[in-house]
Symmetry: C2
Subunit: 514 residues, 2 copies
């Protein structure tokens, strides 16, 4: 689509027109959000004490399973856990003690140092959708994702002002063999963007490949001393840690790379139907996972994750943007802060099949909740559709635009003399208007968040221009952005070495599609 648009422009307009259009696209990335507003806290201290005590009881009495992972069981035994088959029971206090060595916050370096992010504290880092096997756009409908789609999403993420992170599996490139696609995905993040990114977790060997590719990109020494990836380690809720995910965690923790340790919960199926019960299980699972990361390496950077949706009890479908998911997220944020750990949750979650009103209600509910819950790393912050089965091109730019609202909210309310605006109120007086007054002239450019997508035109103009809905406006924006994409520069020697690494790795093994 991008190529077609570029050709059309090439044929139709002159160089001046092209330049004018190009100059309208400013590739600018906002700094990660530093909140100047409080967190919204729904649980009392007493409630938090009860949930923490219950989580300790769960770890001690019930325990968690580490599956197909004798080495992990050995590590647990040495640490003082009660190991019975694959079941690991942790005496009260053990998990919390181990979690205490994880850093409160950490820096994930980008190859462009201006785009490095600090994860934790009062910060919020925004990363795009992760994992969908399908893509959708208005023109092509719903279809299996390809590497070409993947590259387009990385380009759109690179061009988004409000997105701080390039993400990981923005969609599954199903046209590349399963055992090789991580190489192409990492290569795309490393070369088409200069924002920070995530590593592969689908096999420990692929996690090692991810580290090696980072050594090519950043230099081996730099990677030894610094965190250059943050990767997603899901827990099989309830309370099961499988060998693939733990294998990837072991690689990353050992090399001091960041990991999100994240229960993946559809409430009522993988956790109790109640908020307090879900929080208890989430806390027990995360503490066990993070404790394990610290057994691998004291001080390994980790994030307290909580992916939570509720369920439609009629159909069994996961539901998003619901009050119960919000309450779990608010509560999990409080628990993470009490543990002194960075927190990951929320995103552009929705169950809708189309980027329509349902999608937007659900997404806005979740994005707002994520900001106020004190989330530090928001995966899936744009582009998610259909319960995560689909990465949608239009919704990607629609959501990415809304992320600007979060940046605006996080600023809080300055009450310095200029903001008090008493001179303006005196100047204008009863019955006047502020449009031309000195205070407005001095401040209007930065006073209001400005959408780059939404329609504010008078009705008549809007109608004359075709009465476009948000999806159509977004479709045009996708095409415009891709047509105007310009690749960030990269040292040619590094670019060549990355290509060679990928080619060598691919040549070293047969294709696998399962």
């Amino acid at each position: 689509m991008a190529e077609a648009a570029a050709r059309r422009r090439g044929r139709g307009g002159g160089g001046a027109a092209r330049r004018a259009e190009r100059s309208a696209v400013r590739i600018e990335t906002a700094k990660y959000i530093e909140r100047n507003i409080p967190n919204f806290e729904v649980l009392t201290e007493e409630a938090l004490d009860i949930i923490e005590a219950n989580a300790e009881t769960v770890l001690e009495e019930i325990g968690v399973n580490f599956v197909d992972n004798p080495k992990a069981l050995e590590r647990w035994r040495e640490a003082g856990a009660d190991v019975d088959g694959e079941r690991v029971r942790l005496p009260k206090g053990l998990a919390r003690k181990l979690c205490a060595t994880a850093p409160k916050e950490f820096t994930q370096h980008a190859r462009n140092p201006e785009k490095s992010v600090v994860i934790g504290g009062r910060n919020l880092v925004l990363a795009p959708v992760y994992g969908p096997p399908f893509v959708r756009d208005a023109e092509g409908g719903r279809r299996y994702a390809t590497m070409e789609d993947f590259s387009k999403f990385v380009k759109l993420g690179y061009m988004s002002k409000w997105l701080h992170h390039s993400g990981g599996t923005v969609c599954e490139p199903t046209d590349v063999p399963v055992n090789k696609r991580h190489l192409d995905m990492l290569h795309a993040h490393m070369t088409l963007s200069d924002k920070p990114f995530m590593g592969s977790v689908t096999d420990p060997s692929r996690a090692r490949d991810s580290v090696e590719m980072c050594e090519v990109l950043f230099g081996k020494e730099f990677v030894q001393d610094n965190t250059v990836m943050t990767s997603l380690i899901n827990i099989n809720s309830p309370m099961t840690f499988d060998d693939v995910m733990m294998g990837a965690l072991e690689v990353y923790a050992a090399s001091n790379q960041g990991c999100i340790i994240s229960p993946f919960i559809v409430g009522g199926a993988m956790a109790p139907v109640s908020v307090a019960g879900t929080l208890t299980q989430v806390l027990a699972e995360v503490m066990a996972g993070i404790a394990y990361s610290q057994l691998i390496r004291h001080g390994a950077p980790v994030i307290f994750g909580a992916f939570v949706s509720s369920i439609d009890m009629n159909s069994g479908a996961p539901t998003f943007g619901t009050p119960e998911a919000s309450m779990v997220t608010y509560g999990a944020g409080q628990l993470a802060r009490r543990l002194g750990l960075p927190f990951r949750s929320a995103g552009s979650f929705c169950g809708s099949k189309l980027p329509d009103a349902q999608a937007a209600y659900e997404t806005a509910n979740s994005l707002n909740m994520g900001l106020l819950a004190g989330v530090n790393f928001m995966l899936h912050s744009c582009g998610w559709l259909e319960g995560g089965l689909v990465a949608d091109f239009e919704k990607f730019v629609m959501d990415a635009d809304q992320l600007g609202v979060l940046h605006g909210l996080a600023k809080g309310v300055p009450v310095d003399e200029e903001s008090q605006a008493m001179d303006a109120i005196r100047e204008v007086g009863p019955g006047g208007h502020y449009l031309g007054c000195a205070h407005t002239q001095a401040n209007f450019k930065s006073a209001f968040w400005k959408s780059e997508l939404l329609d504010y035109k008078p009705f008549e103009t809007w109608e004359e221009e075709g009465g476009r809905d948000t999806r159509m406006l977004a479709s045009e924006r996708v095409e415009f952005l891709l047509a105007n994409y310009q690749q960030p520069t990269l040292d040619p020697a590094i670019a060549e070495a990355l290509l060679a690494y990928v080619a060598d790795k691919k040549a070293s093994m047969p294709d696998a599609f399962m």
Copy 2:
């Protein structure tokens, strides 16, 4: 549309089919929201002190205008204000002292006592869109509103579970003369619904008619002792109180009826471009308006209102769901609570021309903000479109469904033994699932908010059924609800007396269309 649908059904199906369909519609109204969650507060005590001091300075130094209202100026003079022409300057402390006699909360009675609402405290009462001259639906497009449209909205509001209030001018019935339409509007609220409603404010005589109609509906004695209307008194920001609105306020306050005293602000035009400056002006205006209501009658029930949008500085269009409007709303809530007054703000605000993703993002941003800002009375909580120019039928039911999310959020997080769900966690254990466990069986029906509109079906089913978007689903729901509407019973003598009142009033004056 309702009639057509009913006819279709009458022709096509038998009585049994009709009954089955009808029995699926349960007319049920949730109690007004009683928050079990904290308010979200963005301003520090120091910032609030500054804004309050500045507002007092504004009232003393600059003052407010009471236009074409010599009686009001006389009242102000007697109360100790400095009156110069139409300008009223209030010595520091005067407005605050007068505001202190207004009640912290008040009950607005509905003719069905189960639907009476308590406005103030930790409560949130939800009322529909107010004021649009146009309506829109998917079938008929955008057009001038008529009395038939008005009646349909009242019916939809009556049938909405999550709407506590029937509202006022849900749309302007432009096919009825300006000087008579308040009679038809009130008659519709009184007879097609049994929820509480609002009175006319477009002329003091129409406010008197509203009180008289209430005397017919509720009985003269009941109205003398009780509040049966809450009406909307807008301030012409900056700092101008016109005679029409003040005339209506005088009527309502004198008869102990509720009024929202509400600045109507497009930031940057009617108030400074800064949040702190806007809050200062809002506070000064509301304090002056509420102080005036208490000059009319000590103890008259009033609400601290704040209608605030931001502005697109390119086009001058008002914008909605923006971070700046949210910050003003959060701050205004804090100021209202410090004054000890009920607070009105937020709503289904959006600038979009269609009930699409833009509309839903903007609306969800505003609804969520309203709940967390501690709003007590939310006018416009469903059906608003195109900056308030349009009342949209599909969006009315879409938004009304989302109001269920607010009800769910307000519940907070119970942490009693049943909610802790420790037995469920023990029963299921690592690797199991909760779908069939005893705790889930006992709690799943009430555990999750359930949409009556949104789509959660599997992709294949959804596609087979036509791949409908939210607007199409909503369009079907509007038709279904109107076809199944059943009028609440009313004493025939009262019904007849109301009709006679309206007929007599209409006969007493010539039609006016301006």
